[in-house]
């Protein structure tokens, strides 16, 4: 059977892939996607911990459930905001939205 930290490595890898996307992608929607990846890695963590170490309670599982729910909500609001911004500046490039600075 696979030891725990292999799974953890996978999730961490996913986590940093997401972070890489967040750093490099200039399209807001793709940035959002990267955030979703990060959240998923967290979910994997929770489930794995729950499964391997603390099976007597389902704390981890529930946490990941709630994370999923919230991720959905967050994505929705984010997209709404992005669309609204798109209305104003006709672009979804983050570089385009740097009027506020210094």
């Amino acid at each position: 059977m696979i030891p725990l930290h292999y799974i953890l490595f996978v999730s961490t890898g996913l986590f940093f892939i997401g972070m890489f996307g967040l750093f490099t992608r200039r399209n807001m929607i793709t940035m959002l996607m990267s955030v979703e990846l990060i959240l998923n890695s967290v979910n994997i963590n929770f489930v794995a911990f729950n499964k391997y170490l603390y099976p007597e309670k389902l704390a981890g599982v529930f946490f990941s459930l709630f994370i999923i729910a919230i991720a959905a909500a967050e994505a929705a609001v984010a997209i709404a905001i992005i669309i609204n911004l798109y209305r104003n500046i006709r672009s979804i490039d983050v570089e385009a939205a740097d009027e506020l600075k210094f």
């Binding site: 940035m31 959002l32 990060i38 967290v42 946490f63 984010a78 609204n84 911004l85 104003n88 939205a97």
Partner: protein, 470 residues
């Protein structure tokens, strides 16, 4: 058990109730006349505030997920008060705004989130409360739909907060893995201060730091504050920050007590960075909202300094300071909100010669700024004094000296505003503005708070009696 729930959750229930009431009104009424509805809402908020002050006993419900005590109730009341003031100040802006009711719904949702976050008994509840407060806030900051800056601010806010909450979650998950539990009380016993746990803690810490906009997690602050509608900015800068600070202190002082040695050092470092950076950026701002944003960053630096004292004084001083900070900052933002709502002018140059036509507003502004700068006899003086006193409890006087130096620097840009208002002249100064009743009430509350809270020593003593040390 229900009585217990109702008594302990009365503030949450009240707020949620108002939220749903507004929802019904929205759904039911075809066209809404802003005036009376605003009045009604403010009355409701006042009632809510008053209800909050009923005597409360400590309780722990839902098998440890929800926990409350005297201090927490007080903190919720403080937040209620702040929200009330904000909504009073928002009057001018909302009168004309189309989605006035939605504004309040989101606002109240946020408030509920803060309440649950403050009295969270485990990390899950904490996270839920945090998100419940964050997501509507991002929506709120984009509330000036036609304004480009507003939506840009909202975008920055949601993306960076999503990022930060993701990191926070990662930290939580690691912590869960390391301790096997989410409950605050249990976690304490499983903390061994190992490197890994420290790493998890740092991730968690960054989540807090992001929320209280501590350097280097502060970069969203200025942009969001500048872009958002002024009332939202005000709300962000006091209520959101205050609430997070409340839970921050609690978490550090109770949950992470075993790591006190570590987080004390982290706090000192972060607070120095925060004060310096905030000041350095603030001194060259011209937009008043942005200036106040950076000043609020500096204030967080001072609060962090107080926290680093990790003594009972520290705990009490933080709560006390946030109470004062609400009065001072809302006083200042109130004036800005009023002026920007009526004239749309927000830069310091616009404020030149304000005194000639609006002496009253000028004095409100001046006194609030003095309180922010910590000038006696305003309450800010006492707040800062006790924060640094708490910080000095650890005997790190280099740190204290830096903090004191920063007090001087920060005085400079507050005085710049005062100078513009009282001393400078400009061809067309802002004309005589008429201040509606509700904002006037708000100003009265703020000034009263600024002048009374400090001089009346019992306020501090009361908070002290409720607070705890490490």
């Amino acid at each position: 058990m229900w009585n217990g729930i109702i008594v302990s959750l009365r503030q949450e229930l009240m707020v949620t109730g108002i939220l749903f009431l507004l929802l019904f009104i929205k759904v039911a009424s075809t066209e809404s006349r802003p005036g009376p509805i605003l009045t009604l809402i403010n009355v409701l908020l006042t009632v809510n505030l008053v209800l909050g002050f009923f005597p409360a006993t400590g309780a722990t419900l839902f098998n440890g997920m929800f926990h409350t005590d005297g201090l927490i109730v007080l903190e919720k009341n403080i937040l209620n008060l702040g929200t009330l003031i904000v909504s009073l100040l928002a009057y001018d802006w909302l009168k004309t705004h189309r989605q006035m009711l939605e504004f309040y719904m989101l606002l109240l949702a946020t408030l509920t989130g803060f309440f649950f976050m403050i009295s969270a008994g485990n990390l899950l509840m904490f996270y839920l409360g945090l998100e419940l407060s964050t997501i509507p806030l991002t929506a709120l900051s984009g509330f000036d739909l036609e304004k480009r800056q507003s939506s840009e601010a909202a975008m920055k806010f949601i993306i960076s907060s999503a990022f930060s909450s993701a990191l926070l979650l990662f930290g939580i998950s690691l912590l869960y893995g390391a301790t096997g539990t989410l409950g605050f009380i249990e976690i304490v016993h499983h903390l061994d201060g190992s490197a890994f746990q420290l790493f998890a803690f740092i991730l968690l810490f960054s989540g807090f730091a992001f929320k209280v906009s501590a350097v280097p997690f502060h970069l969203w602050t200025a942009d969001v504050y500048e872009g958002s509608p002024v009332p939202v900015t005000a709300y962000l800068s006091v209520i959101s920050k205050g609430a997070v600070f409340f839970i921050f202190v609690q978490t550090l002082y109770t949950v992470f007590k075993p790591m006190a040695g570590d987080w004390r050092r982290i706090l000192v470092l972060i607070s120095v960075l925060t004060m310096l950076t905030g000041n350095l950026f603030a001194i060259r701002q011209n937009n008043l909202k942005r200036l106040l944003a950076f000043s609020s960053i500096v204030q967080s630096g001072f609060i962090l300094a107080g926290m680093s004292g990790s003594s009972r004084t520290g705990d009490a001083s933080v709560v006390y300071f946030i109470l004062i900070y609400i009065f001072s900052n809302l006083g200042a933002f109130g004036v800005v909100a009023l002026i920007s709502a009526q004239t749309g002018r927000e830069t310091i140059d616009d404020y030149k010669g304000l005194y000639t036509h609006n002496p009253l507003l000028s004095w409100v502004m001046a006194i609030s700024l003095f309180s922010l700068a910590g000038i006696p006899p305003t309450a800010g003086f006492f707040g800062k004094f006790f924060l640094l006193m708490a910080a000095a409890g650890r005997g790190n006087y280099v740190f204290i000296s830096i903090a004191a130096l920063n007090m001087v620097i920060s005085l400079y840009y507050y005085l710049r505003v005062i100078k513009a208002i009282f001393m400078d002249k400009q061809p067309e100064p802002i004309g005589k503005l008429k201040v509606p009743l509700l904002p006037n009430i708000a100003f009265a509350i703020c000034l009263a708070g600024i002048l009374v809270t400090g001089l009346a020593g019992w306020v501090y003593d009361y908070i002290y009696s409720l607070s705890i040390g490490v």
